[in-house]
Symmetry: C2
Subunit: 209 residues, 2 copies
DNA sequence: AAATAATATATCAGTTTGATACATTTGTCA
DNA sequence: TGACAAATGTATCAAACTGATATATTATTT
């Protein structure tokens, strides 16, 4: 039995990976990323912590996330390190702190930008439920795919709006990079939709037999 | 100025999201997922913790991960809850514990499989570096894309091998679902490569002007 | 026979999440 | 105008997970 013929997914078929993955460098340093995310946002313009959260939920939502629980503590840490400065812009009773990036902060950001990306990852619960779907049958699998398909369609609507909207601001340099990431989102969601269709067709084939 | 004309990426252009995202249900319950991952793996066949880690690094690597730090504690917890059973299969001095799923564990897995997926997410450091790339210039952006492109090509080689290998085992039901996830991986990595090419072309256009 | 790789369990500090608490300001509509 | 809802804003916490590392044995290569 050659390496290629060995099954890679269970012991019964003599489980063996057909390729050496030891150098595949998944799971690298889990170094703190929030620093760079916040410095990056502040490199565009000064803003509050609340606003950074909003950016993460709208502009960056297709490829990165973040919660208050890491935003505010990180901002304080960055201030201690002299990489951002606070400015109290409270009006009346409402607390409001506007953050700006310092030269030192810009330096830190630039250094990070020069280094290659450590880790890109997907964490698709839909795929997880599909992979273990044997206990759930084709019907269950189809439901998960339908649900995923709908989400993708919704995301595509948003992304296409973003792209259209951005067209008017492409003379702004920072927006060029934003545009590229939006195109990435569009390309991937279109691929997902494509896969949804094919996967359901494949299951129909299997059901016939 | 209509909603559509407002810029969604900075304050200068009167930042406003062209779409209401409040109901977009990003960031839902961060409930423990490792339970289900391990139960899912054990629903295929009994194995050790070490082997589960290996599966995560090979078979599931394209859409899910996991570390020893959550595998072993979760296995102990699952045993306490009666959802898996331990069997000591040590030989001589080497400790070896084989885990099996119980009826109760299968029930838990099935219930989870029936519920819709809570959250699918991308965490692409490459896109992050690209988005903040203004500080780094087109040259820097291209380097990140080249690096990403190479990773994608490598992943595609592995995935195509997986697909080819799996063809021989498609009569095995659980492998059908595995096959679908591999197809997902292939589709998405192909889309990524497509985007890499277009993004670099786009940047060339911008450079001309 | 020695060195290296693979198997195997286990723990820990550091990072992030999702939820929630609390308070004020703005917008809506009756 | 006044009441109510939504948006703005800061902050913290338990629970989850990662990446690294420690430790030890067995299998494979040189």
């Amino acid at each position: 039995m050659s390496e290629k013929e060995k099954c890679i997914s269970c012991k019964k078929c003599n489980q063996k990976c057909p390729m050496d993955l030891k150098g595949a460098d998944r799971r690298m340093a889990n170094s703190k990323k929030m620093d760079y995310v916040l410095l990056g946002l502040l490199s565009h313009e000064p803003m509050t912590g609340y606003e950074m959260k909003k950016r993460l939920d709208t502009t960056l939502r297709f490829f990165w996330g973040g919660s208050y629980g890491s935003i505010y503590p990180t901002l304080n840490q960055l201030e201690t390190e002299g990489k951002v400065t606070k400015e109290d812009t409270s009006s009346n009773g409402r607390e409001k702190i506007s953050y700006s990036i310092t030269e030192s902060g810009k330096e830190t950001l630039k250094e990070w930008l020069k280094k290659p990306a450590e880790k890109d990852e997907l964490r698709y619960e839909t795929l997880l439920k599909l992979f273990f779907g044997n206990e759930n049958g084709f019907e269950g699998a189809k439901e998960h795919i339908d649900c995923f398909e709908e989400k993708c369609r919704n995301e595509l609507v948003v992304l296409n709006m973003f792209a259209e909207n951005l067209m008017q601001y492409l003379e702004n340099d920072t927006h060029k990079y934003y545009y590229l990431t939006v195109q990435f989102g569009i390309k991937t969601y279109e691929a997902y939709l494509d896969w949804c269709k094919e996967a359901k067709e494949q299951m129909k084939e299997w059901e016939k037999k």
